[in-house]
Symmetry: C2
Subunit: 255 residues, 2 copies
C-alpha cells in the first residue's frame, strides 16, 4: 500500500459476499487503499451488539484482487478487530454498507450497518453508513455507489465534527431520477410489532418478528421526506444519547 | 390484576434468573402490577439487536408468586413481544435491569439493558434502565433496589418527555455511603480494544474481545463523575441520534 493514499476500512452487516459491499469496494478503490473486514454471514438487525460471551474467528478471503477478512462476529466486532488486529494504522475513513434495505429514521438504531459507522465515530474515525432502499439481493447498486463516492470524497476533504458519523440512504430509483442530496434529520417513526405466531411440527408455539413501519413525522426536513421525494438523505448521527434539553427540568425532581 | 394500579413491564439483559432482575421485581411490586418478560439466557452486550433471521420462543416460568415469561431473544425482542403478545394494555412504566455492571457513558450504546429502555421510549412508554456498578453474581443489590423504587416513583408521578428514557447507574457502595442522585450527561469515553488471541486445540487462531475503558471527559456534570463520587447517576437518554448542530455546516458541502 502506498502510504500517501487514504486508508479506508470497509464493513457491512449483510456479510462479506453481499452485492452491496462489493459495489462499495469498487466505489472506494478509486479514493484510497481499501481494507475489507466484514461479517462472514448476514448480521442484519444486530444493532450495536458485540460478542462477549463467545469467541471470534477471522478468515482471509481473496476476492476482487484484495485480501479481505471475514469475521464471525457482528459489524461492531468487525470494526473493533480491524483496528486492533488488522489495520496498519488508524484509517482515514470507515464506510459501511451498501446495505440491502433502508436505514432511515428509527431504523438507524436497529441497523448493524449504521452501528459499525457509529463505532467508527466512537473511535474518532470519519465514518459513513450507506443504505439502498431495496432489500432484494438483485438490487441495482449503480446509483448508490455513485453517491457513496461523492459523499466519501466530501468526508475525506472536509472531515466530520467530533462524535458524528453520517447515515446516508439512497432511494431505489435510477441515477437520472435522483434529484440530489439533502442533509436532514432523523424522522420520528417506529415499527408497530405484528408477531407471526406459528406451531412447530410438535405443536409448540414459536414466533417470527414482523411489523409495520409507521412514520409519525410530517416534517419536510427529514430523511423519510427526502427519500420519498427521490433525494439521497444524509443525516449527521451521534453517539451522545444525552437528552440535554431534559436535564434542567429533571433537576427539580425530589430524588 | 387490579386495573387502577400502574402496569409495569420488567426486563433485563442478564437473563430472567439473574439476581439483579429479582431485586428489581421485588422493588417494583410495591408500585404496581408487574409483568416480567426477560431473556431466557444472558444477553449482555447485545445493544439494540433484534431477531429477524430466526424464530423466538416464549416460556412461562412461575417464580416469586408470579407467572413470568422467558423469551429466547434479545432484550429488545422481549419488549416487542411483551407489547404485542403478553401485556393486556400499554404499560405505564418499563424498567430494565438491575444490570450486573455499569452502563454509564459510552456503555449505554452496547447495553442490552439500556436498549430495552430505549425501545420502550420508542414505543412511548416511560422507561428506565438500572445498572449497578458491580459485575459479580454475588453483588449486593439493596442500595440499587432502594434507588430504583425512588426513581420509578418519580417517573410514574412526573412522566418523561417524549422520546426520552432514563439511564440510571448506582455506585457499588452501601446505601449510607451514597450521597444522593445527580441528573447528568453521558461522559465522553470509549473502550480501547485489546483482543486476546489464542489457539484452539487444532492450532487455529481465535479471539476474545477485551478492552480498557478510557474516560476522555473531565467534566463534573457527567455520569462517570457522579459515580466516582458516590452519587447515583441519572442520564436522560434519547433515540433521536441526529447531530442537529452539524446540519447547518454540512449543508454547505457540494454534493
Amino acid at each position: 500500500m502506498s502510504s500517501q493514499n487514504p486508508l479506508i476500512l470497509i464493513t457491512n452487516d449483510d456479510g462479506i459476499t453481499a452485492p452491496g459491499i462489493r459495489a462499495l469496494v469498487n466505489a472506494m478503490k478509486v479514493l484510497g487503499d481499501v481494507v475489507v473486514v466484514a461479517p462472514d454471514k448476514p448480521q442484519s438487525g444486530m444493532g450495536h451488539a458485540i460478542t462477549i460471551n463467545s469467541t471470534l474467528r477471522l478468515h482471509e478471503v481473496k476476492q476482487d484482487g484484495l485480501t479481505e477478512y471475514a469475521c464471525s462476529g457482528t459489524p461492531v466486532d468487525c470494526v473493533k478487530i480491524a483496528i486492533d488486529k488488522i489495520l496498519p494504522r488508524k484509517p482515514d475513513l470507515l464506510v459501511s454498507g451498501i446495505n440491502h434495505g433502508a436505514n432511515s429514521s428509527i431504523n438507524v438504531i436497529y441497523s448493524g450497518t449504521m452501528s459499525a459507522a457509529v463505532e467508527g465515530a466512537i473511535e474518532a474515525i470519519p465514518s459513513i453508513g450507506f443504505s439502498l432502499c431495496n432489500y432484494s439481493i438483485e438490487a441495482d447498486f449503480a446509483a448508490a455507489a455513485h453517491f457513496a463516492a461523492i459523499v466519501a470524497k466530501n468526508v475525506l476533504d472536509h472531515g466530520l465534527p467530533a462524535g458524528v458519523c453520517l447515515n446516508v440512504n439512497i432511494p431505489d430509483v435510477p441515477l437520472d431520477i435522483i434529484k440530489g442530496v439533502k442533509v436532514c434529520r432523523q424522522a420520528k417513526a417506529l415499527w408497530h410489532e405484528e408477531f407471526d405466531e406459528r406451531k412447530d411440527p410438535y405443536g409448540r408455539k414459536y414466533y417470527w418478528l414482523t411489523g409495520k413501519f409507521i412514520n409519525l413525522d410530517e416534517g419536510t426536513d427529514t430523511d423519510q421526506w427526502a427519500l420519498e421525494n427521490n433525494f439521497v438523505s444524509v443525516v449527521p448521527t451521534q453517539f451522545d444519547l444525552t437528552a440535554h434539553n431534559a436535564i434542567k427540568d429533571m433537576k427539580k425532581w425530589e430524588m
